[in-house]
């Protein structure tokens, strides 16, 4: 057991110029291609300015603490195996492709949003755990990727249960969606590690409503920064309910007061679809800037119990920027949220 160990293989260049990753090309097609990831300083161990990766580890609820806090016990250091051929790092395992795609996606969304004047710097770094064990939490391998807020500020990537499709953890839209949750946490809680004020509400309806907007906002970040209305199609072709260009319309059952087992994605998709309506009238870049500004404004009002107010604010901000948007956007609002009173801007 304690024989001296010798490795024949030499360690590859830790900072290759290009790495293989799944990305959306300018022609709108997703494909594997060599991409730079400037923030990834150590491609072998998945360490860099955007966060460090760990294999395994354990996520546990501190059952006996006053706030039932969640904590992550770090796992081992990652150790990707790859070779650099013609300046491109080629992984020897699917995990390498998944993890480089993950990191590249974060790098891109950071560059995209910072370039639009949206400050994402308070979000970084976010460490991430690949296939951690869960103690006392209800996660399944079907979830594939998740953001843990609640003071933990951690991404979780899970290996995929479906063999024939692109793993959700390697889907650029899904990673941008999870990043959207982290940004939402920063925008509303003020700090990446802070407990969000709505999480402390004793009324579960408040928490659930914000969950719906949080899911919707995450979809907005994914769809608008990729300019793709249905990024789920790559990994889950059978799921059609998340297409934000479809006809999602809010009804009373989508609000937690009227639901027994609450599904935040239904109302979230309505909000994200309204943001996509704005994108159709303007551009993806303009829409994402306004969407973030609306969350900022909604958070400043602390209107946690009224997530439709966010849609009103998006309308207000958009019309304030471009008066010609008033008629079509008011029509879109009325179509997406038919039971909501007419907003002041549209009256």
């Amino acid at each position: 057991m304690f024989l001296p160990l010798v490795m024949f293989a030499c360690s590859p260049d830790p900072s290759p110029a290009l790495l293989l990753a799944v990305d959306r090309d300018e022609d709108g097609e997703y494909r594997v291609a060599p991409r730079p990831i400037p923030e990834l300083s150590d491609a072998q161990h998945m360490e860099g300015a955007l966060g460090h990766g760990y294999r395994g580890g354990r996520i546990a609820i501190e059952l006996f603490s006053a706030d039932m806090g969640i904590r992550y016990d770090e796992g081992g250091r990652m150790d990707l195996d790859y070779d650099v051929i013609d300046d491109v790092a080629i992984p020897m395992d699917e995990d390498g492709l998944v993890l480089w795609t993950y990191y590249h996606t974060l790098s891109q969304v950071r560059a995209d949003l910072n370039g639009l004047g949206i400050d994402t710097e308070p979000v970084w770094p976010i460490d991430f755990a690949y296939q951690p064990a869960f103690v006392g939490m209800d996660f399944t391998s079907g979830e594939n990727a998740a953001y843990l807020g609640s003071g933990v500020h951690l991404f979780i990537l899970l290996p995929d249960a479906l063999p024939a499709v692109l793993p959700l953890a390697a889907n650029p839209g899904v990673i941008r969606h999870e990043f959207g949750h982290a940004l939402f946490n920063v925008l509303t809680a003020g700090d990446a590690y802070a407990q969000a004020p709505y999480d402390e509400s004793e009324d579960p309806n408040v928490t659930n409503k914000v969950r719906a907007l949080n899911e919707g906002f995450a979809d907005m970040i994914a769809t608008l920064t990729l300019d793709d209305n249905d990024f789920f199609d790559l990994s889950l072709p059978s799921v059609t309910t998340r297409d934000v260009a479809a006809d999602a319309v809010a009804d009373a059952t989508m609000y937690p007061e009227n639901a027994e087992a609450y599904d935040p994605y239904a109302l979230g998709t309505v909000y994200a679809s309204f943001a996509w309506d704005l994108r159709e009238l303007t551009s993806a870049d303009q829409a994402v800037v306004l969407v973030v500004a609306a969350v900022d404004a909604w958070s400043a009002e602390a209107a946690w119990d009224d997530t439709d107010r966010w849609a009103e604010l998006l309308l207000e901000l958009s019309v304030a920027e471009d008066e010609s948007l008033k008629t079509p956007l008011c029509a879109a609002f009325a179509a997406r949220l038919p039971e909501h009173p007419t907003p002041e801007t549209c009256a």
């Binding site: 057991m1 024989l3 160990l5 010798v6 490795m7 024949f8 293989a9 293989l20 799944v22 997703y30 494909r31 594997v32 291609a33 998945m46 990766g53 294999r55 395994g56 250091r77 990652m78 150790d79 990707l80 195996d81 790859y82 070779d83 051929i85 080629i90 992984p91 020897m92 395992d93 699917e94 995990d95 390498g96 492709l97 993890l99 690949y130 296939q131 290996p159 063999p163 024939a164 499709v165 692109l166």
Partner: protein, 176 residues
């Protein structure tokens, strides 16, 4: 497993007597294993096929193993298929009540991994690596009739320093 084989396993038979009589014996066979293969970021469970040969002059034994496993994933965007071949030689303690022998041993292992990564319409690269490491195992073996032998083992092997694979397997072979 037939009742006859079970009897051979637990109660012994002609083959058992044969094994007891000898101060040393040899076995060789094929083995099916479940591998917990350490990938860069986790352990993946994959099947493995191997062959082994043991020379057992009690209380010592010398065992050689050759194991092959494959892991592949293909989707619309990429395909990664990796093969791993491991050869190991173990110096072992051989003990236990006859006819069953308990092996506890360790030794060097050489693992050759070869991965083919395909993407795009025509792009593909094959990368091959050789890693030295260590192998340790606890195994049981015994006779199964006149000439046949069975084996069961649990083991661990490293590729380099940081990658550790675990395996659990059972096999059937011959003895002389």
């Amino acid at each position: 497993m037939t009742p006859t084989l079970l009897l051979s396993l637990f109660c012994g038979g002609g083959g058992v007597a044969h094994a007891i009589e000898g101060a040393e014996h040899s076995t060789a066979g094929v083995q099916l294993s479940a591998f917990a293969l350490q990938t860069p970021a986790r352990h993946a469970i994959v099947p493995a096929l191997g062959v082994w040969a043991s020379y057992t002059p009690r209380p010592w034994a010398l065992t050689g193993e050759l194991t092959l496993t494959r892991r592949a994933k293909t989707n619309d965007f990429y395909g990664v298929s990796a093969q791993l071949v491991r050869a190991s030689a173990l110096a072992e303690l051989a003990m236990g009540t006859r006819p069953m022998t308990v092996h506890v041993g360790a030794g060097p292992a050489l693992t050759v991994s070869s991965a083919l990564t395909e993407w795009g319409e025509t792009d593909a690269e094959r990368i091959t690596r050789a890693d030295l490491g260590v192998r340790a195992r606890v195994a049981l073996d015994g006779p199964l009739g006149e000439r046949l032998a069975w084996s069961w083992q649990v083991g661990v092997a490293s590729r380099g320093i940081y990658n550790w694979d675990y395996d659990l397997g059972a096999g059937i072979g011959v003895q002389w």
